[in-house]
Every structure is written in structure tokens, then in C-alpha cells.
Amino acid sequence: MSALPPYASPLQRTWFYSFRIICGLIFFFLIFPILVILPLSFNAQDFFTFTKEMLSFDPAGYSFKHYNDFFTNPDWQQALVNSVLIAPVATLLATAFGTIAAVGLSQSHVPYKPAIMAILISPMIVPLIISAAGMYFFYSRIGLQGTYWGVVLAHAALGTPFVIITVTATLVGFDRSLVRASASLGANPVTTFFKVQMPLIVPGVVSGALFAFITSFDEVVVVLFLGSAGQKTLPWQMFTGLREQISPTILAVASLMVAISIALLTVLELLRRRSERLRGLTPG
């Protein structure tokens, strides 16, 4: 499939090219919606489609006014601040708890491992609307509903499965004799963890943290129910914006968020290559 052999029949030739065209169309379907909002976010008009000026590449058709609105509108700024206050704290909690637990889970004798694993992974499996409903009921009972910490704890809980999965995956390739070697040289378990184990599993920890971060940063269902007006995050503001009156500022915000995802993707790709190199595999 990778290349067309010289003896291919006309039918094979046709299929080969039409298959590529089909795949090209599907790739187009995947990427076009994300790319199309980038130029539209520079629209000088309040339209959601390309104006005549934009299509003729007239500079008058383009402007930064939607970006300007995002950076000056107090609602959006407050939402940005809230997102920045919530996501990193939730990520920190999820990563700290998750990494320690993953180290524990990778030990050779863990009682009730499947049951524990099922509980720890459950926040990822249960549909968000159910998590949100349950958390809303329970957190209102204990007075956490509508508070900053309520949202942070909920987001941390949702992020932990990703940390567990990524860190456990890196620990699979971890040579346990390194720990014994370190202990035999007189290091206590804490020193061993930070000096020997941590540097080797750091790609897993970082990619888990990134997953936890994006889970919190992108999360809207739980925050819609658990948060009050004081915890309005960026996705929440986008959600209300899309539902009530759709303002083109959303496109500017969306474009900025695409830039963030590209940055995250790049970091992850670099980490993947590093860990492949460490394991003696050549990066592709």
C-alpha cells in the first residue's frame, strides 16, 4: 500500500489514487473546522462567514477587533483569570496524588489491585453529566457547591485517571533493580524516588499533567453545575456565549485556544521522542 508497484493494473492504479483522495477528504474534514476559525477571527465585520473584502484579501476586511474585545472585555478577562486560577491547582493536585499512587500500583504485591484500579479510573469512564449531577448533589450537602475549592477538587478528581495511566505506562519499562542499587548505596526511599525513579518517569508525569491540565482547562459540564458566577471559566463563558447570543469574540478566543493546543501537542511529541530515545528506540 505504501507505494504503487510498477506492475499494477489500471484498476489497482485507480483504486490507489481514489483511496488517497478519500483519505485526503477525511483529513480535510478533521482539520478544516479548526483551521477555518483562524482567518474568520480576524474578520472586520461581526459576521461568521467570509466577507467579500476577506476573499479578495483586502486589508480593510481584516482587523484585530475581536482580539481587542477579548483583551478588554471584563467578562472574558475574569473568565481567563478564573481558568488560570483553577486549572493549575487542579493539575498539581491530580499529578501529585496520581504519581504517588501509580508508583504504589506498580509494586509487585498490591492487594485488590483490579478493584483499586477500577475506582481510580472511574472518573474517566463515568459520563461527565453524571459526575456533574452527583457532585452537584453531594457538594451542596457539604457546602462546597459554588466555591473555588469545590471546582478545583472536582477537576482534580477528573484529571487523576490520566496521570495514573500515563505514569503507569512509563513505569512498565522501569528497571526495579535501579531502586535496589540506590538503596544498597545508602539512599533512603525518598531520595531514591526523587534522584533515581523520578528522572526516568518524568515524561509520563509531564504528559499526565498535561492531560490533567487540559481536562480541567477545557472542562465545562462540571463547572457549569458546581461553580457560581465567581468561578466562571473560559469554556463556561464560551458556552453561554454560544448558547445565548453568539458573538465573534468567541472565534478570537477559539483561535487562541487552538494555539495553546498546538503548544501542548508539541511538548507531548517532544516528550514521546525523548522517552523513545531513552528506551533505545530510534524516533520516527
Binding site: M1, F27, L30, I31, I37, F48, V126, G134, T160, I214
Partner: protein
């Protein structure tokens, strides 16, 4: 394993302890250490996540509001025979008077009214009205006539039947409601056709999830096949086109589709410009099922491609070559040799997409209109708008059961430990 040497001596460690005991102690210590490492997260998840879910399950059957607000009435009412066709006797009304006096002071009678209003409309206003009149009633009775004087609904058997039916602390009423059933005079019966909405919504959620899963499979299979057969350098590059949508915010993608699919949006403008449709015939692609299917297929497609790709990577190309060398044509080689080996990937991807789509809320809410919404939208409506939390909880419980069953299947096919990310 024997712990004695040939001459019958018990093996010991250097400091004289029996070897078996020492090993057992070491193992116990290791178990304890592993458990201590896991415990913080386990406790954290149990409190922040599992407890809320259990609370929701509990709320779907919990119903102590009647017994808490009208404790004396409930006791007296237990003696009343609802099939007698007559309203209960004076002692029940006397108990109701005592209970209502306290309830009005605590202002809990309106809450009880709105709770019982889910079961029979009109009860909310009955309690409100009685609450206003209760202070003016004669303390010495007779209470029955005074209550019926306040509102003649107190003299009707149906009102008392509802009260009696919901006086136990646990109820299956929410679940009956979620199944579009109710408790009639002859036991459990289905609601009238025009009031059956939840089973219909569950059906639609299932149907749309299946359609979305199938279209993801249809679009994802060729892509995964292409990525798995291309040289690593090219496929890594193309993989970015799959991973970028995967990493992009859900709301960004939903807003993109909102922009594209609108009647004044990019796709319609393009179609008008190419004269495929005229200006009056702009396609309605949003706020209906089409919108939900298109947007959700796009959002969930990476979840199909990634598991398919990881399975297809492991299929050795020599099998297909062997099939061809034995005389199979391209199609036979693919269908009889390659495809069966990719089935585990199809299973993994399809169940993953299905689990994710069945509980989706945001995208249907934004692009689904009324015909494209899922059961989750109804749950959200009952939590935030109608405030019928018990019904929301029972609908949520049903959805949770469906997802967990699917997940057990997923675990059997793929294994919970084999979930790969990125």
C-alpha cells in the same frame, strides 16, 4: 518449597528468625508500603468522586420529605384504607393540622408541595393555599371540615392516595417516572402515549450514538489503515492532523461547527456561490439531528482512529503478502486476511466512541436544537431548571448502568490496563 535442610533443621536468616516468617514479614511490609502510597489518592477519589456518585444513586430512591414534613399525618394515614373510596377520618386531619403548623413556621410546606406536584399537578398550590389559611383555623377542630373548607381537594381521595403512596422513606416513583410508568389503581402501568418522553429519549440517544459510532468507523478505518501502512516518518506527520483536533478544546470545535453549519455560515455560502443551491434554499444543518451527528462525529473521530491505528500497527504486512502469493486478489487478501486481524481495534474504538457519545451533553445542547438532544440534556434540565433532582438522579442512574455494562464489555475486549493516550 521446603523450609528445612536435609538434616531436619529449620532454615533461618542470619539473625536467627525462621526464613518463612521473615519472608512473610517482608512481603507484608511491601504490601503495606504499596497500599500507603495508593491510599491518599484512593481516599481523595472516594471522597471527591465516588461519594457523589453514591449520593446520586441514593437520591434516586430517597423520599423522606413527606415523612419529615408531616410525621404525625403519615402515622395516622397508614391506618387509612385507600380503596375505601372515602377521605380519611377526623384524626388524620387533626394530625395534619399539627404538622402543618410546624411546617408553615419552618416554611417547609411549599417544598413538600412542589415535590408532590411532580406526582400530581395542583398539589403545590394546595399546600401554598392551606399554608396561608392554617393560622386562621380553629384550634379545637373539627379539622376535617375546616381543611375541606380551605380547599376542597382535601376532601378528595386522590390527594390522600398520593400522600399515602409517597409517605415511605424510599420510593421507586422516580424510576417509574424514568421508565415512563406510573402507579395506577391496578398497580404499575405505562403513562399515556403523549406523556412518554424518557424511553423515547433513551431510544434516540442510543440511535444517534450508533449512527455516530458507525460514521466514525466509516471515516476512521481508512485513515487508520493509511497511517498504519505508510512509512513512520510520513505517518507521524499525518498523525498531527488527527492529534490536533484531539487536543483542541471541545468548545472550540463545537463553535467551529456552529460557524460552518449556520444558514448564513461558510458551507451554505460556499454552496450558494457554486450555485449548487439557490439563496432561498439554504440547507438547515444546525439545531437538528444532522448538526449533532456531524459535529459529534468530528469530535469523536480521533477516539476511533487512535485505537484502530495501534491495533493495525501490529498486523504484520507479510500476512497480506502471503495471501497474495497464494493467489488472493487485493480484495480477498484484505477482507479474509487483514480485516479479521483489525477487528479487535474496531471493537475497542467503537465501544470507546459509543461510551463517550451516549453521555455527551455540551455538543447536543449547542448544535442539537430540540430534535438532536440526548438524555443527558434532560438530566441537566431537571437539575438546573425543573429542580426535580430525584428524577434527574434516577435518569442518571439508568445512564450510568448502561455505560458500566458497556465498559465491562470494553474491559473484556481491550483490558482496562491497555488504555493508551496520545
Amino acid at each position: 518449597m521446603s523450609d528445612t535442610t536435609d538434616n531436619g533443621q529449620v532454615l533461618t536468616t542470619q539473625d536467627g528468625k525462621p526464613l518463612k516468617a521473615a519472608l512473610r514479614r517482608a512481603l507484608r511490609r511491601e504490601k503495606l508500603r504499596a497500599f500507603l502510597l495508593i491510599a491518599p489518592l484512593l481516599i481523595f477519589v472516594l471522597i471527591t468522586f465516588v461519594a457523589p456518585i453514591v449520593d446520586m444513586l441514593f437520591r434516586s430512591v430517597e423520599n423522606s420529605i413527606v415523612a419529615d414534613t408531616l410525621p404525625k399525618t403519615v402515622i395516622e394515614l397508614n391506618k387509612w384504607d385507600s380503596s375505601s373510596g372515602e377521605a380519611p377520618g377526623e384524626e388524620v386531619y387533626a394530625a395534619l393540622y399539627d404538622d402543618m403548623l410546624i411546617a408553615v413556621d419552618l416554611k417547609t410546606h411549599t417544598r413538600l408541595g412542589s415535590r408532590l406536584n411532580y406526582e400530581q399537578s395542583g398539589i403545590s398550590s394546595l399546600f401554598r393555599k392551606t399554608g396561608r389559611r392554617i393560622k386562621r383555623m380553629d384550634e379545637d377542630g373539627p379539622f376535617k371540615d375546616q381543611f375541606i373548607g380551605a380547599d376542597k381537594k382535601w376532601g378528595e381521595v386522590e390527594t390522600w392516595q398520593v400522600l399515602q403512596q409517597f409517605s415511605p422513606r424510599y420510593t421507586d416513583g422516580y424510576f417509574l417516572n424514568a421508565f415512563d410508568a406510573q402507579r395506577g389503581p391496578e398497580g404499575i402501568e405505562m403513562k399515556p402515549e403523549n406523556e412518554q418522553i424518557y424511553m423515547f429519549l433513551f431510544g434516540r440517544t442510543l440511535f444517534l450514538s450508533i449512527v455516530i459510532t458507525l460514521s466514525c468507523l466509516l471515516l476512521g478505518y481508512p485513515i487508520a489503515f493509511l497511517l498504519a501502512s505508510l512509512p513512520l516518518r510520513t505517518s507521524n506527520l499525518l498523525m498531527i492532523l488527527v492529534l490536533l483536533p484531539f487536543w483542541t478544546s471541545l468548545l472550540v470545535r463545537t463553535s467551529a461547527w456552529k460557524v460552518l453549519l449556520q444558514q448564513q455560515g461558510v458551507i451554505n455560502d460556499f454552496l450558494v456561490w457554486t450555485r449548487l443551491i439557490d439563496d432561498a434554499g439554504r440547507l438547515v444543518m444546525i439545531n437538528n439531528q444532522t448538526g449533532t451527528i456531524i459535529a459529534m462525529t468530528h469530535i469523536l473521530l480521533p477516539f476511533m482512529i487512535l485505537p484502530l491505528y495501534s491495533v493495525m500497527k501490529t498486523i504484520s504486512p507479510s500476512y497480506v503478502r502471503a495471501a497474495k502469493s497464494l493467489g488472493a486478489n487485493d480484495w480477498t487478501a484484505f477482507w479474509r486476511v487483514y480485516f479479521p486481524q483489525s477487528v479487535p481495534g474496531i471493537g475497542a474504538g467503537a465501544i470507546l466512541v459509543f461510551i463517550l457519545s451516549i453521555g455527551y451533553y455540551i455538543t447536543p445542547e449547542l448544535v442539537g436544537g430540540t430534535s438532536g438532544i440526548f438524555i443527558s440534556n434532560r438530566i441537566a434540565y431537571h437539575i438546573s431548571s425543573s429542580l426535580n433532582w430525584g428524577l434527574a438522579a434516577s435518569l442518571g442512574t439508568l445512564l450510568l448502568v448502561a455505560v458500566l455494562v458497556l465498559f465491562v464489555v470494553y474491559d473484556k475486549i481491550v483490558g482496562i490496563d491497555n488504555v493508551k493516550l496520545g
